[in-house]
């Protein structure tokens, strides 16, 4: 997997697992061992998709009516 921020490449388990903000989605947050940035990771594809900054919502909105209205 390749860090979106610094390009560091390594197996997915080298990126520290932080947490999965939606248990029913395949995306999680993992921290790059080189630059410490938080990558949003597709766990099905072992692919880093984007850097997650405070306030970003890589999973879209909450479940429920807010999600539906989004």
């Amino acid at each position: 997997m390749k860090c979106v921020a610094c390009g560091f490449e390594g197996p997915v388990d080298k990126f520290r697992y932080l947490y999965n903000a939606r248990i029913d989605a395949s995306m999680s947050m993992r921290q790059c061992p080189k630059c410490n940035e938080w990558n949003a990771v597709d766990e099905l594809k072992d692919e880093a998709l984007e850097i997650v900054n405070p306030g970003d919502a890589p999973w879209g909105k909450s479940a429920g009516i807010e999600g539906i209205s989004a």
């Binding site: 947490y19 248990i23 766990e43 306030g55 970003d56 429920g64 009516i65």
Partner: protein
């Protein structure tokens, strides 16, 4: 420039309630609100400028060292007395209520007699030592050198079973300290309300009577009386010191008024402060200001004795008659004056700051204790106890917008619509409180589990976040609980791993068998039951021993003086032999994971046979790594709690009933039952890195579910009625002591009168289904995400975390995300 009505209207329309509050509150409340220091630790650290008070422990330790030969309660009373009589005091400008825990407004305190492990933690806290830091480190080292190995918890550690102690303190299964050095206690307000001088007089009479007995015919029955005398002396010592503490404020207020104050209005206020402090707590209060001041002194003074992390209280009930007399009958003050006093009451309480070690701060992010004030409810005779003061507290809460204390409202069918509207406004303004408690259910529950008589049960207050307790002579609960707090997700975890904990790498629970050998779900559940019993038993017996030894190792002179039963019997308030009825419970953190995990195991392993137990255990040991499809199967294709699905709901009820049956088998030190109480504070985040991967699809590191019976965030896919129906399958009287339910609602949907009516219908359904608790977050995603991005601009956004509220910017990123991911329910 003055804010116009139009501007306020715009803020209201944008639902920027913090601006509405700031622009509409009185100038005094605005000043006081902005002048108060934020004492709750942010996600991890204390705010810049917050300092640990070293003067308090030094004064305490100095007297402690001088009185080595005294019985512990007397020794402690003298130490507290030295603090109350000599610690610097201050009066905040524009303030009308005085008294603070600590010698300066920016101080937090700690209790060196309590636990070396907490004392040592202070070394690790950057920035909280007063400048010059080098000098403070010397002072800290001197304190730690004296107390190291000699604190109450050090003493307790010597008598605990070593294996139990290691497991208890591992951090894996329980949360809390088996000592009243860290905890909370109900207050016997009827007794306290007599005035401290009258309590001192009662003690005098008890001592005189005892003295006469001791000088009469010798008998073995008289021997215990010798121990009572120094305890009574200790109670008098602290009450006298508290009166002197108030008198010091009176003198300070007079000095400022007569020598320095140039504003005649403020001079008058200072003289009123002086008169108030000359009256209370020595004598009972006569006015609203005296009543609030009395109350505040009671709360402050006891926090010079120990870390009281909760505030069982019913302020509208206590102050309501004075509010009514001053505002509505005598008209000696205006309603706005009264709101200023109530608002400052909230602010002065918020000002109390107590040092917490990091593990506690993670579980109670953003606050210094769960100070949940109980409002509303009924009187002893069952009539409506809500009064004008209840309404006023709701109104002023929206003006000062603090996160601690919060309110828990005892809802019952006779509550008037006008008051319900005030409550709804608090929720709509995003305070996250009051939580709603179903009074008839909880009164019945108190009688069922603990045998409290009806008239006492009707007086209940929230002991900490959730558990009701009657603040009566024999109902008051002096110790945190029976058993600290159980990390219940470990029950299913240990069932899967034969009692072994793969996070702390030790055998914790009993060896209930290799899960791959269980042929049926029933066998699996039998092992679950054994692990559940083991978990409750180890916690209960550890805390029971801590409780039994507490008067010997820690001692509570102030709390004893506050308890009629302790004053009457010359015992420590914590002494379980003085008539206490018992009101213990086990707080069940991370409970719902059991239901969802058991349902997933039953469905996918035993019923559908889609996976083998060996495959599941292997995946869990590897934290689901490389098994994402399988993990998603366990999340999405196994029934989940909160969707009105009998498959999993029956499992939840089975778990609760099995545990409730055990709650009748195990007994607290008073011989009473111990029900469980599922709730989490922010333990669901604290335990995220302690609970290993589970069959509900959670990985090690993921937040656990947020509530006591709240569905997993995003997993309640069938709407709020389905959530209520699932929760309604639980018997809220027989199956446990109380059940925390978080619900997130849409502020857009609940705007206006229509919004109120939707919410009211929801409350009716909640009551119809016999539920005991619900609390609401009503802040939208966009505001919360914006606050994450630009915290400086959103300092005043408040959210309901679990049994408490916090400013959103003060909680960790992980907790923030966990709140955002909660399902926003559409009503109607």
């Amino acid at each position: 420039m003055a804010t116009t009505a139009k501007e306020i209207k715009e803020f209201e329309e944008k639902q920027e309630w913090w601006w509405v509050a700031e622009k509409t509150r009185s100038s005094r409340l605005d000043y006081l609100r902005k002048a108060v220091w934020k004492k709750g630790a942010l996600g991890g650290n204390y705010a810049p400028g917050i300092e640990i008070d070293l003067e308090f422990p030094e004064l305490y330790t100095e007297t402690w060292q001088e009185n080595e030969g005294d019985p512990i309660m007397l020794r402690k009373a003298k130490s507290i007395g030295n603090v109350l009589e000599n610690l610097p005091i201050f009066i905040t400008d524009q303030s009308q209520i005085v008294g603070c825990v600590g010698s300066a407004p920016h101080n937090i305190v700690s209790y060196w007699q309590g636990a070396s492990m907490i004392n040592e933690e202070i070394y690790n806290e950057q920035g909280i030592l007063p400048q010059p830091e080098e000098k403070s480190l010397e002072r800290l080292a001197a304190l730690n050198e004296y107390w190291g190995g000699n604190t109450a918890l050090d003493e307790l550690a010597k008598v605990l079973d070593p294996e139990d102690a290691v497991k208890f303190m591992s951090g894996a299964i329980g949360w809390g300290t088996p000592s009243s050095a860290v905890g909370y206690a109900t207050k016997d307000f009827r007794h306290i309300g007599k005035g401290f001088e009258n309590i001192i007089e009662e003690i005098d009479e008890n001592m005189e009577r005892t003295d006469k007995l001791l000088r009469g015919n010798p008998s073995p029955d008289l021997l215990p009386l010798y121990d009572k005398l120094p305890r009574w002396e200790a109670m008098q010592e602290v009450l006298d010191a508290a009166i002197e503490y108030a008198a010091r404020y009176a003198r300070l207020a007079r000095i400022i008024a007569e020598n320095f104050e140039t504003d005649p209005k403020r001079k008058e206020e200072l003289l009123r402060i002086a008169e108030t402090c000359e009256r209370v707590p020595a004598q009972p209060p006569r006015t609203l200001q005296e009543s609030i001041q009395y109350d505040h002194f009671v709360q402050v003074v006891v926090r010079y004795e120990t870390y009281e992390g909760a505030m069982p209280h019913r302020p509208d009930y206590l102050h309501g008659p004075f509010f009514d007399k001053d505002v509505n009958i005598n008209k000696s003050i205006t309603r706005d004056d009264a709101l200023d006093l109530l608002g400052e009451h909230l602010i002065r309480t918020y000002e109390i700051g107590i040092f917490s070690p990091r593990w506690t701060r993670e579980g109670l992010q953003g606050i210094t204790g769960t100070w949940v004030w109980t409002m509303g409810g009924v009187n002893e005779d069952g009539t409506d106890a809500c009064n004008d003061c209840t309404t006023a507290y709701m109104q002023v809460a929206r003006l000062v917008r603090i996160a601690n204390p919060t309110f828990s409202f005892r809802w019952h069918p006779k509550v008037k619509d006008e008051l319900m509207r005030e409550i709804f406004e608090c929720i709509r303004h995003g305070l996250g409180y009051p939580s709603l408690r179903n009074d008839p259910i909880l009164v019945e529950n108190a009688m069922y589990w603990h045998g409290h008589p009806l008239r006492e049960a009707r007086q209940w207050v929230t002991q900490s976040c959730m558990s009701p307790c009657p603040p009566t002579k024999y109902g008051c609960q002096p110790f945190r609980m029976a058993s600290a707090t159980a990390n219940c997700a470990k029950i299913v975890e240990y069932t899967l791993h034969n009692g072994y904990d793969n996070v702390v790498n030790m055998q914790m629970g009993p060896k209930t068998g290799n899960a791959v050998d269980f042929k049926t779900y029933d066998e699996f559940f039998e092992a679950w039951t054994k692990q559940m019993k083991w978990l409750l038993n180890i916690l209960v017996r550890t805390v029971a021993l801590g409780r039994a030894k507490d008067p010997e190792f820690f001692s509570r002179p102030i709390l004893s003086a506050y308890y009629e039963r302790a004053v009457e019997t010359g015992t420590d308030a914590v002494d379980y032999t003085n008539g206490e009825r018992g009101n213990a419970w086990v707080t069940a953190f991370t409970w719902v994971e059991n239901a969802d995990s058991l349902a997933a195991v039953k469905k996918l392993i035993y019923d559908d046979k889609k996976y083998t137990m060996a495959e599941l255990i292997e995946a869990l040991k590897n934290n689901w790594d490389g098994k994402e499809e399988m993990r998603l199967d366990f999340v999405n294709n196994a029934p989940k709690w909160g969707n009105d699905d009998d498959y999993v709901d029956d499992i939840m009820v089975q778990c609760l009933k099995t545990t409730a049956a055990h709650g009748k088998e195990i007994k607290c030190v008073c011989g009473n039952n111990i029900p469980i109480l599922p709730e989490n504070v922010s333990g669901n985040i604290h335990y995220a890195n302690v609970v290993s991967a589970l069959p509900n699809g959670r990985r090690l590191g993921d937040a656990l579910y947020d509530g006591g019976i709240s569905p997993g965030p995003g997993l309640d896919k069938k709407g709020p009625t389905a959530v209520l129906k699932s929760c309604g399958k639980i018997d809220h009287v027989l199956d446990g002591r109380a059940f925390l339910l978080n619900q997130r609602l849409s502020p857009t949907q609940l705007a206006g009168e229509k919004g109120y009516q939707l919410w009211k219908s929801y409350v009716k359904s909640w009551d119809d289904l016999g539920m005991d608790h619900v609390q609401f977050n009503m802040v939208d995603d966009s505001t919360l995400r914006a606050a994450q991005k630009d915290p400086e601009k959103y300092q005043e956004v408040i959210v309901r975390v679990a049994g408490y509220s916090a400013h959103f910017v003060d909680i960790s990123r992980k907790t923030q995300d966990n709140i955002i991911q909660r399902t926003v329910q559409g009503l109607g």
